[in-house]
Each structure stands twice: as structure tokens, then as C-alpha cells.
């Protein structure tokens, strides 16, 4: 959150030329998906440079972590990327499990895969709905939120919460799957294939959609790596890299799926990659339900955790990219330091690179295609 000083680092110039102007966008702007403020330097409609002002939603999550026990901090992580709360919880629980050297039982691993993939679907659905809305297509929003609702209902039946689920505990899953859980999940999967076709029918061949997204906000593979950009944005640039495959966690090494990639690294490719990821998620969920083993869902974990002094880093493939937790223990009941490596924060940094030379309307498209959640950017 910077005070309004536009003396940008943009080209090192303090003064504007006579044809240049500065436009402030946000923090209260519907296309910024929360409280993101972007200061644009323009030549007419053309963007010459941007500066992001963030921090409006900063709650000091990492400081809170140092003042809570390991288990007490667990619900807080849901409030970072609140669109994909289950993923956040999975990352945190697995990181602490690594620190205390405990493995969740197989049934919990599979339950985690099912719920996390459902959450990936929900996250991509919110992304596509709002992204299409930003670009001017209202209809997809209703379709996508209609379908996301079913996922939230499954979450609600599973753990009582729809959004900030706190579905997992350190050591496994505290809740057993409810009666009919498998049936609900499979029913949903059966229906979703046709629904994804429906989304594609609305957008993929749509001339307006294609013209607004093809060739817009290109980020090539080299730039992605240099800027630390991960997730669908990286894959759309042609890099076949997904942590679920590269360094499998939970039960991802026991299910079969593809990593969809794009070629051009533009907004359209990112759209296609996420659409295909949704189809892959359905595939993963089906297999996980089929293979769901019987047995306990919680490992033996002491009520009060006291990991021995040490430090670890663990990361998972969240819907937005690599979500990592770096935890330092000093041997007490509270973490000495928890650092969250947020995919949204790092990906947002690429905005400037992607919109230089583009039009203002493309800025809106690019913010959408980056799929950021400000709760995670600001923490």
C-alpha cells in the first residue's frame, strides 16, 4: 500500500511527456477481483507501464502463525486463498506432517485428493466466470456459479462449511466421508463433462472471446521462469510442469492424469489449459473414488504438537500455482516462523511485463487470466 506517488521506476523518468497520462485503477474496481490498485501510465489507450499497489487486505497471517499452536493456525490458512481453501489446508497440513515426520493414512490421502480436486474445479469455475464477465460475457458466470454451488454443497455436507472449510487436520482428515459421499461426487463428475462442453460452447469458438484473448498478455516460458510464475500460466507457455507430477504428494502418484499445456502463452492458451485441467480433475476424482481404500482417516498425532527444532519447506500445486510453506520450529508448541509462498503474489508480479504496449482493456483481461486472489497476495 504505497501512498500515491507516481514517480515511477517506469523508465526512470520523474516527469510525464506531454502525450502521457496517469490513470488510477482500483482498489475498488470490479475487474481487479478484490482490492488491487494498479497505476497505469498511458499514451492514449496504450499502456506504457504499470505499478501495482497491494497490501489493502494484509492481515499479518505469518505473524499470527507465530502466536498460535500448529493446530490453531490451521483454520487461518483457509483465509488466504479463500476460493481454494482446501488446497491451502492441504499444503499446511502436509508441511506440518513433514516437520513431525508423520504420514496421513491411505484413506485420508485419497479423501484429500478428492476434496482438493473438487476445490480446483470450484476455483477454476470462479476464475472462468469472473474472467469472462470482465471481458464482457455475462452468461458463463451464471452457468459456472450454478455448477460450483454443487461442489460447495458437497463440502458443506462433508465438513459443515462451504468456503473456509478447514477440511483437513494435521495427520489426516478428522471427518469420515458421509454416507453417500462417493455417490454425490461421482454424480457430479458424470454431469460435469457435458457442462464443460457447455462452457466451451459459449466461449471457445466465440469470435469476440477469441479476439479479446488470442495474442493478449503473452508471457513466454523464459519469462515465466525468470519471474517465478507457476501454475496454469507457466503451463500455457508450454512448460509441462506440475508439482502433482514432479514431486507427487498425497495420493497423486497413484492416479493417472495428463498435464495440459499451451503453446503461445497468451490469454486464450491459459483459458484452454484451465478448461483441460478441469477435465483432468474429473478424471483424477473418478479414480480416487474408485480406489478409495478403507481404514482410519487419522494418523496417531499428539494433541499438542512439539516438533523438534528444524526447518522444512513443502509445496503443493494449488489451482493458482506453487503454494509453499516454509516452517521453522524451535521445539516449542508454536511455530517459530511460518512463511507462505503464495502463488498469486508472485504471479501478479508478471502483470507489468504482460501489459506493456497493450491497451487498457487488455489490462482487465490480463488481471483475470492471472487468476489472483487478493487475500493470498496480501495475506
Amino acid at each position: 500500500m504505497t501512498t500515491a506517488t507516481f514517480t515511477p521506476d517506469l523508465d526512470g523518468k520523474t516527469f510525464l511527456d506531454s502525450n502521457e497520462m496517469v490513470l488510477n485503477m482500483g482498489p475498488q474496481h470490479p475487474s481487479t477481483h478484490g482490492v488491487l490498485r494498479v497505476i497505469l501510465k498511458l499514451d492514449g489507450e496504450k499502456v506504457l507501464g504499470t505499478e501495482c499497489v497491494i497490501g489493502y487486505l494484509h492481515r499479518g497471517v505469518e505473524k499470527i502463525a507465530e502466536n498460535r499452536t500448529y493446530a490453531q493456525f490451521n483454520p487461518y490458512v483457509d483465509r488466504m486463498d479463500y476460493i481454494a481453501a482446501v488446497s491451502n489446508g492441504l499444503g499446511y497440513c502436509e508441511a506440518v506432517e513433514k516437520l513431525i515426520d508423520v504420514q496421513a493414512p491411505p484413506r485420508a490421502q485419497f479423501l484429500r485428493v478428492i476434496l482438493t480436486e473438487l476445490n480446483r474445479l470450484a476455483s477454476h469455475q470462479v476464475w472462468l466466470g469472473t474472467h469472462a464477465l470482465d471481458i464482457g460475457a455475462i452468461t458463463p458466470l451464471f452457468y459456472l456459479f450454478r455448477d460450483r454451488e454443487e461442489i460447495l454443497k458437497i463440502f458443506e455436507k462433508y465438513c459443515g462449511a462451504r468456503l473456509t472449510t478447514h477440511a483437513f487436520r494435521i495427520g489426516g482428515c478428522i471427518y469420515e466421508a458421509y454416507d453417500g459421499f462417493e455417490k454425490d461426487v461421482l454424480n457430479y463428475c458424470d454431469g460435469l463433462g457435458a457442462k464443460i462442453d457447455e462452457y466451451e460452447g459459449l466461449l471457445t469458438g466465440n469470435r469476440i472471446w477469441v479476439q479479446r484473448t488470442k495474442g493478449v498478455g503473452i508471457l513466454n516460458a523464459a519469462d515465466c521462469k525468470a519471474l517465478g510464475v507457476t501454475g496454469p500460466v507457466l503451463r500455457a507457455a508450454g512448460v509441462k510442469w506440475d508439482l502433482r507430477k514432479a514431486q507427487p504428494y498425497a495420493a497423486y502418484d497413484q492416479v493417472d492424469f495428463e498435464i495440459p499445456t499451451g503453446e503461445n502463452g497468451d490469454t486464450f492458451d491459459r483459458y484452454m489449459v484451465r478448461i483441460q485441467e478441469m477435465r483432468q480433475s474429473v478424471r483424477i476424482i473418478r479414480q480416487a473414488v474408485e480406489k478409495l481404500p478403507a481404514g482410519p482417516t487419522m494418523a496417531k498425532v499428539p494433541k499438542v504438537l512439539k516438533p523438534q527444532a528444524g526447518r522444512i519447506y513443502h509445496s503443493i500445486e494449488a489451482p493458482k500455482g506453487e503454494l509453499g510453506y516454509f516452517i521453522v520450529s524451535d521445539g516449542s508448541t508454536q511455530p517459530y516462523r511460518v512463511r507462505v509462498r503464495p502463488p498469486s503474489f508472485v504471479n501478479l508480479q508478471a502483470l507489468d511485463k504482460m501489459v506493456r504496449g497493450a491497451l487498457i482493456a487488455d489490462v482487465v483481461a490480463v488481471i483475470g487470466t492471472l487468476d489472483i486472489v487478493l487475500g493470498e497476495v496480501d495475506r
Binding site: G55, K225, L227, G228, R311, I312, R379
Partner: protein
């Protein structure tokens, strides 16, 4: 009623116990603790420990036969690889430690060579800088750990590079190696006040520019805030 009251009293005691808690019940071997670089050595464990078995001697004696069955505690193990050998050849004792703990590989290097080591790592195909962060240890002379988490797409390998610096010491920015360092280092500066030289625009990122204090330092209280800033800019007495 009295029961309820005592229950209530217990809660703050547990949460506030952090500073005083002595890991009496923990079976953490002090040796494993000391072996970890960067952790505070003055641990209250050894003086307290003998007192507890004395008080609960019979119980301890009964429990003893079961003790050997406990799984071994994880400990850092030395990490040997051509990469480490190459680094050691080039920088000698500047590489203070190369080990892995719970499968996480890490290097602890001297502050003076950290940029060179990072450069070396980038040339060794560690082309993705995952994260840059810091940890504050106020009791140590070198108060801060600065931590770089690197990843290589080619090798599918993750390595942590750590260094320690004193309060007020500056670190050379990794911006020229990985542009992603820009925001990551700004956040470290914002939260810890660690300055990075040769950074393209080092300023606060999450907190407002006029804020005083660096909240992730250990001496910064959980409820502490810049009252003057809050009053002046938001027009309220307190943000709490």
C-alpha cells in the same frame, strides 16, 4: 461454576506459555537440537530435565522398556553431491554446511559469498527462485537468517541457500539473477527491515510507506501497530 472458571483461566495460560514452556514432556534430544544451525542454543531443556524424572521416577522406570521401540528422531545428514563438491572447491570454508533434513537439501553459506553462490546455482540450472524470506533470532549476534529457496526444472531438485547477517547489514539483491526477487525482497525489507543493495526500487510492499517498524521482527508485538499512522491516515484511535 468454579470448574468453569478454572477452565477459562487455563486458556490464556496455554497460549502465553510459549516463552516459559520448557519442553519437559518432549523427548527431543538436545543433541539433535544443537546440531541444527540457526537455532537458539540457550535452551532451557538440560537444567529442567533431571528434575522431572526425579519427581516421577517410578513411572519413568516402568516406561523404560518401551522406549527403544520409538522411531529414531530425524536429524540432519550430510549432503554429498558433485554440486556441493564444486562449491566447496571454489569457496572453501565459505560453505559452512551442506546437509539435508527430512529430505530438504540446504546450504548454509557465509554472507560475503552468498551472491556468488546464488550465481553459481543459477548457472547450475537452478533457474527458478521459488522464494526469498528471512527469520529473526533476536538473541543471536547475527540476528537474521536470509533464505533463498531455489528449484531446478531440469533436475527436479529443490535447494535452500541460507545465510546469516547482523542487524543493519545489507545483502546484495538477487534481482539481476532472477527478476522475481523484486517483490520477494521488498517483502523481506517490509517485514524485517533488511536492506538489499542494487535492488531496482526497494520500498515497502504490503504496509503503507509511512509505517514505522517491521512487524515480523520478534520484538514487534502481535497487537502492536503504528498508532500515529493509523490516527492520521484512517482517523480512528486504534486499528484493533
Amino acid at each position: 461454576m468454579p470448574d468453569e472458571k478454572s477452565e477459562l483461566e487455563k486458556i490464556p495460560a496455554v497460549t502465553a506459555a510459549k516463552a516459559e514452556t520448557t519442553p519437559t514432556a518432549s523427548s527431543t534430544p538436545p543433541s539433535a537440537k544443537a546440531a541444527l544451525v540457526g537455532d537458539p542454543t540457550p535452551s532451557p531443556t538440560p537444567p529442567v530435565k533431571p528434575a522431572v524424572p526425579a519427581a516421577a521416577k517410578p513411572a519413568a522406570a516402568v516406561a523404560k522398556p518401551a522406549a527403544p521401540a520409538a522411531p529414531p528422531k530425524p536429524a540432519p545428514i550430510a549432503w554429498e553431491s558433485p554440486l556441493v563438491a564444486g562449491l566447496k572447491r571454489q569457496y572453501g570454508s565459505g560453505i559452512r554446511e551442506a546437509a539435508s533434513y527430512l529430505k530438504d537439501k540446504y546450504l548454509v553459506v557465509d554472507k560475503s559469498i552468498v551472491f556468488d553462490v546464488l550465481n553459481h546455482m543459477r548457472d547450475e540450472q537452478f533457474d527458478y527462485c521459488v522464494d526469498i524470506t528471512a527469520v529473526h533470532w533476536p538473541k543471536r549476534e547475527e540476528q537474521f537468517d536470509v533464505i533463498y529457496i531455489l528449484y531446478s526444472f531440469e533436475k527436479n531438485e529443490r535447494v535452500r541457500v541460507e545465510t546469516t547477517i547482523k542487524d543493519g547489514e545489507k545483502v546484495r539483491s538477487a534481482y539481476s539473477l532472477w527478476p522475481t526477487s523484486d517483490w520477494l525482497e521488498r517483502e523481506v525489507f517490509d517485514m524485517y527491515g533488511i536492506e538489499f543493495t542494487e535492488h531496482p526500487g526497494l520500498k515497502r510492499i504490503l504496509l503503507p510507506e509511512g509505517w514505522t517498524g517491521h512487524p515480523l521482527r520478534k520484538d514487534y508485538g502481535i497487537r502492536q501497530q503504528d498508532q500515529a499512522w493509523v490516527k492520521q491516515n484512517i482517523g480512528i484511535e486504534s486499528g484493533q
